[in-house]
């Protein structure tokens, strides 16, 4: 059974390479995108941390900024 799945009637090399290429592309794109996202989140958190009290208050008044910060703490 396993040998049949691996050999695919002699087409195993073609079938498995096509599926492998697809899955490797998915994994690469996923991690590259995730890395970009966490980089931006960290940059945002560090910029936010360097703001003075008044600017922090202004920035915190926006929901989206609070949301980004809450997600950044989970990274």
């Amino acid at each position: 059974m396993i040998n049949e799945i691996i050999s695919m009637n002699g087409y195993g090399a073609y079938v498995w390479s096509a599926f492998s290429f697809t899955l490797i592309s998915f994994v690469t794109l996923y991690f590259a995108t995730k890395l970009q996202l966490s980089k931006e989140q960290k940059r945002f958190a560090s910029k936010f941390g360097s703001l003075n009290v008044e600017k922090t208050k202004t920035a915190r008044s926006q929901n989206i900024n609070r949301e980004i910060l809450s997600n950044t703490s989970k990274v």
Binding site: M8, Y14, R43
Partner: protein, 235 residues
């Protein structure tokens, strides 16, 4: 109507949904791979080589769908002067490009056992390669132009020009004599594909669509945070 879809309002949803979509994608992909590699029957002519269809066809469909969306959103950003459309297009493009490359590579791998060649300058394959070039130009334009307004203009023009190629890809197998087979699935008439193959194909298409949604949401969140980073500089 667009005010309900403003980034500030939907960020709470777009930032939380990727983990659920990733979970759903893994489940659907596992079912799809089991169906495609084990449960679905072999073809009477192509034998097991037909299984490549389960990655090749969904990848081609989704890359075409995403490029059509890019063109539509680009037109929308011109007409409605809505920058969010440009942000959505920019976030959609990477997964569209990857699916285009997957369709080309898996098509080439499928070509060797069925046609006896890795590549042919055939109408369908060449027009798909042209689409990959348009995707490449679109992504490159976002990197080259630092001025956002100019980047939106150039990328919109690339998307609108490139969408002319989409019907050419679709009808290339009807208009020209090609190595590529004619479509087996037709929404308006009877399909020439058996249900035992159509079901895994639909499951794999759903998995690929979920993956493109996942990448889109992650990219969109990245772009929004970039905008907000610039906003903090201006405070």
């Amino acid at each position: 109507m667009f005010k309900y879809f403003e980034p500030n309002k939907i960020f709470a949803i777009t930032s939380r949904s990727p983990k659920y979509i990733l979970f759903l994608f893994i489940i659907v992909l596992t079912i799809g791979l089991t169906e495609a590699l084990i449960l679905s029957p072999e073809d009477y002519k192509q034998s097991d080589a037909v299984r490549i269809m389960y990655v090749h066809v969904p990848a081609a469909w989704i890359s075409l769908g995403i490029f059509s969306s890019l063109a539509l959103l680009s037109l929308g950003s011109f007409v409605f002067k809505n920058k969010n459309f440009a942000l959505i297009s920019k976030s959609l493009a990477p997964s569209g490009f990857i699916f285009n490359i997957i369709a080309l590579v898996t098509g080439s791998i499928w070509g060797k056992p069925t046609w006896g060649t890795w590549w042919a300058w055939d109408a369908r394959i060449t027009s798909m390669l042209i689409l990959a070039l348009f995707y490449g130009m679109y992504l490159l334009a976002w990197r080259i132009y630092e001025d956002k307004e100019q980047a939106i203009k150039v990328t919109s023009m690339i998307a609108i020009l490139g969408v002319i190629n989409v019907p050419i890809i679709k009808y290339s197998v009807d208009w020209w004599n090609t190595l590529h087979q004619p479509p087996s699935i037709n929404v308006l008439s009877n399909n020439s594909i058996h249900m035992s193959m159509l079901i895994p194909l639909c499951i794999m298409t759903a998995a690929f669509a979920l993956f493109s949604l996942l990448i889109f949401l992650m990219k969109y969140n990245t772009e929004l945070i970039k905008v907000k980073n610039k906003g903090l500089d201006r405070l």
